[in-house]
Symmetry: C2
Subunit: 352 residues, 2 copies
DNA sequence: TTGTACGCGTTATCAG
DNA sequence: CTGATAACGCGTACAA
């Protein structure tokens, strides 16, 4: 890695400054000079020193992408879309936080250290104990502080799937999913099918996404006077298959007359379905099952899963464009992305 | 971002060099001095300038991870494992190459520019037209050249799921999957069940993984004198659901008497199953179906999918350790990871 | 349009 | 164990 700007400059008989300008492309340079420089670059197989230019320019071409876990298709799809939209030139630094605010903080600091050009924070936030919908837990405060600092440094911050309230006003752009609307539509669908005792296997109680989806579910129930039992018919657990399995069993224990179970997401619904099968219950004959997210495999389940589709890909791509400043900020700095109810075979009329 | 090493030094009444040593931790510093420095760091909320230190130290703490597409669980799982094993401090730069050698080259160059500490290259390679098992296409040459340069720069290179032949000798460590062995075992399983006419929906013809899996399949067939028809009973396509769907239909057209179809991977098998159902064929009653990779959803399909499990997580974690130099290199610089045949419900005795 | 010269914030070498 | 000081390689006012 011996060849530097100076070497190229010498070979092209120009100054280092000129080479820099040719490579940056943001400054007028005579055509023949440029050609000479480019040839020298090629002949020497010169590769820019990223850290050096980042130091001098005070910004790198790294873009941080915080996700719970890339192995989870929900995040994998978003991360993939971000990365694709970034195009060559920008490099996505994908960080698994596992949903832990501490690790979020750690990575945000690391990204701050790298002078990242932008940061996309995906996934739900952990809510503080006291606030309701606000961002006032101590961790939320710390994360907000980091975001403020990032923004002050010129790093663009985009929240994707997290309420705008979790970043100080004016420091970030936000893309939210309509979790409440989707959940409500889903439960309305079940109620329309005649279901009255509907179980809900929710995510961890302290996540915003969990609460929003639950809010939508409860709103639908309340609209039909069915919310009296809501507390008893709700169990919490992580957003995984095991939680759906255990949750379904627990719900059935609490209320054998259940005719429908909603999973906090598709993966949970998968576990719910498996538990039901083990119990000898048919889906949707005995019990209807529904999920959320519409991950790729959901349509291929048997029976295919009724769920709520979220524009994950679009969200990621748009987040990337916002992060690069290629797209105008949405009005008010935040946009809500639409959901789409996907009624498939796992839900049907209530058993008589 | 005004606060620098010098500011901290001033506050702690020491030199910048001392602060640097305290923060790097790789140099003896008096206990009280260290405490004073640490306090100053804390009080000023100092954050190291990554690019600056990368420039001075000639290496960053970025680790490149090249994958086909993180949205694909196969790669998502590996990437996630790499990232988790990296721990805080190292940042994973995840690059989607879409399997394209050009983009692989582009990202490798970008990583070279960043002075990445290490690079993990996952996924199969594209084979040159002339060679057989070698790495002599022009693209392969170019990629090899980049790898050589990376290695020369001190960047550790780890190939994960790609033959060692695709990196110049001594420049990279390799973790390979036993695709051939797994494929052979899978087809042996089908043959043992009585199947004689077995279709195969393979991946793109020019990928090493495709060839290796096909080799294993053919070897099993040959061992039982069933390879006469192999060419006719094989179709190629991308590693996706649509390919499995179309492939199954085409195979059925070519040979209506087919009693089993193997997909190049689980996603392809999903498509195969869907096509079969549409044709009114039952699985495994009429036709047995098998996949490869054992992705998370495979066990939950109905019928659950017989497949070959690969230690994706372990591979990613180990690749990360090799990349960090935390684990001794395997003998000969390359290790082959074991597969595990997972016999489930999608395969059964040949219909009579 | 091109060259000069300095600064970016760290690390590492070399004294002390 | 600690302090100067010289790189590290590039961007960019400023000058020509």
């Amino acid at each position: 890695m011996a060849v530097t700007l100076a070497d190229v400059a010498a070979r092209a008989h120009v100054s280092a400054a000129t080479v820099s300008r040719v490579l940056s492309g943001n400054y007028p340079v005579a055509e023949d000079t440029r050609a000479r420089v480019l040839r020298a670059v090629d002949e020497l197989d010169y590769v820019v020193n990223g850290p050096a230019s980042a130091l001098a320019a005070a910004t790198s071409d790294l873009v941080g992408v915080l996700v719970n876990d890339v192995a989870d298709p929900f995040f994998g799809i978003i991360a993939s879309a971000v990365q694709s939209e970034l195009g060559a030139g920008k490099l996505p630094v994908v960080c698994n936080t596992g949903g832990s605010p501490e690790r979020e903080l750690t990575y945000l600091t690391l990204l701050l250290r790298q002078r990242a050009a932008a940061v996309v924070i995906t996934g739900s936030a952990v809510e503080g104990g006291t606030g309701e919908g606000g961002a006032d837990g101590e961790h939320a405060e710390a994360v907000a502080a980091r975001i403020r600092r990032l923004a002050a440094n010129g790093t663009r911050v985009v929240l994707c799937g997290r309420p705008a309230a979790f970043a100080p006003p004016g420091t970030a752009l936000t893309l939210e999913f309509d979790n409440t609307g989707g959940a409500r539509a889903l439960t309305e669908h079940l109620i329309a099918l005649g279901h009255r005792r509907i179980g809900y296997v929710a995510g961890p109680a302290d996540r915003t996404t969990t609460r929003h989806r639950l809010d939508g579910h409860r709103a639908a129930l309340a609209a039909h006077g069915l919310d009296g039992d809501a507390g008893r018919l709700t169990v919490h657990g992580p957003y995984d298959r095991g939680s759906g399995h255990a949750g379904a069993l627990e719900l059935l224990r609490r209320e054998p007359e259940l005719t429908a179970i909603v999973g906090a997401n598709d993966t949970v619904a998968l576990g719910v379905g498996a538990a039901l099968r083990e119990r000898g219950l048919s889906v949707p004959g005995d019990v209807s099952v529904a999920g959320f997210d519409d991950l790729p495999f959901s349509a291929d389940m048997l029976p295919s899963l009724t769920t709520v589709a979220l524009p994950l890909q679009e969200a990621g791509a748009r987040a990337a464009r916002l992060a690069l400043g290629l797209e105008a900020a949405p009005a008010g700095g935040a946009a809500v992305l639409p959901y789409e109810l996907r009624i498939r075979q796992s839900t049907g009329p209530r058993r008589s």
